[in-house]
Amino acid sequence: MTVLVGVVRRRPPLVFTLLALTAAVVAVCVLAVSLGSVWLPLGHVWGILAEPLVPGLVDVTWSPVRASIVWDSRLPRVAMAVVVGAALALAGAIAQIVTRNPLADPYLLGVSQGAGLTVSLTMVLGVGVLGFVALPAVAFVGALAALLVVLAVSGRSGSVNVLVLAGLAVGQVCGAGLSLVLFLHAKGDQAKQVLFWLAGGLGDARWDALAVPAVVLVLSVLGGIVAGWRINLLHAEDDAATALGVNPRRFRLVMLVGVSLLAGTSVAVAGGIGFVGLIVPHAATFLVGSDARRLLPVSALLGAGFLVGADLLGRLLAAPSELPAGVITSAIGGPLFILMLLRTRRRMG
């Protein structure tokens, strides 16, 4: 099933596409640092960012509070949106290649919910001392376990319905488990905390929480670019991939561990942010096709820009309060997804 059919055309060189997208992402990021409940002029934003790099060369015309807003609040938040958005989009793109299914996505596969369950268990049962390194690890275990159950249930029948239903079922079971944990063990504000985190917000973004997801992301992007050529073999049917020299089952499993790492660490720091992994790879495919060497880096850039933009929108729409980024991505992604399903249905008659 193909949801968006790329137009037949010569594509611009990858370098141009990447440069243009990077410029766009940087522009959105600068906007996101500038705009908010307190408006910071762009000149100030650049100055505040440049000042620590070239001390003495920049005239400080702003208050320390404003510098603190940039460095301690907005910049970590934007950086978190970049990392999480890129990671989720990359996870979705890989999942779609590996399952050869355009509906695969960490959320629809139940992976994010699996991570959510183990993270909230950890939060509620008070193993919080484990800190920011342990949470992503715990999330990864939950994500991988959920994914393995989904794959075991659906097999590789190639049936979109079976896969999505298995993902939904596992996601529901994880959700029920989470409710049960909250019901039985949550004390004080814990339930509220967990539910707020699950809504998928970047409001609590901190530099120290960023390290693990950022490292996972960078390694995945580099790995994707270097091995992208080989990842393309997963686009072929199993027999052809075997004849071309890979063991498709083993290869898929390795890639799915990567999906769990990307999605798990994202969920650990940002909660449930849906539809990024589903929608963004489709846009990327539309732009550059399915070749993993192009698709993976472009998905990551688009995902970064999309989540920074969604988070900014959430802050602007409800200022001086804010809407969680996950609400915005779902509000945009849900209707788009429905549109894609309708197009597919029409094409299939």
Binding site: V8, A227, W229, E237, T242, A243, G289, D291
Partner: protein
Amino acid sequence: MSLRVEGLRVRLGGRFVVDGVDLAVARGEVLGLVGPNGSGKTTLLRTLYRAIAPASGKVYLGQLAVDELPRRELARRLAASTQEPEHAASLTVTEVVEQGRVCHRGWLEPMRAEDGDAVEAAIRAAGLVELRDRDVRTLSGGERQRVSIARALAVRPEILVLDEPTNHLDLRHQLGVLGLLRELAAEGLAVLLTLHDLRLAVSYCDRIAVLDKGNLTAVGTPAEVLDEGLLAEVFGVRGHLRGSTLDILGPV
């Protein structure tokens, strides 16, 4: 390097689909594997590139047992094109043909100039120059089949295994692909292909192997193999071979 199959038995769904096959394909030879539907041709080929494991028996490349070779090495020596190539992703023809070069490089190695040359040559040989930037999903069945063949050619293997490479092709491209296989054999490749069209098999294959219900019933030159008895018994048709012309008169 030659391809040799010894005592091969393959079990699928509780029965032996290939039941004791001995067969050898030499360098420089085109061997056509023929037989009615369900005779086990595809299963036999899939065993060669290790898509399925045999219940017993061995496949050898020269002196090397296929199941002891690393997959990548096997892929470099023996390339295959499958019967119904699926192309679900938005890849260009060139990107699909490039897949044939992956087995020549390690995990962290990029494509080299040599790989580009092999891809270029394969695209030319399969007559895909005009289509090289097209999205494979927009191609016709026959064009996709040629992409699949080009991907196998790009490997630059010693042995080429093709499962019904002509079944989607128009007549001109059927002759084009079979002529190409003859040229490759002349350069020293061993070519094994399955075919349904016995007339094409007679014209283009050095030898023909007839598979029936998982057993090889005859192997030899077309003149040695395709007599009236075999045509009637295995294929259920009346016909006879005169020189290099096979006349099929009708069903038995």
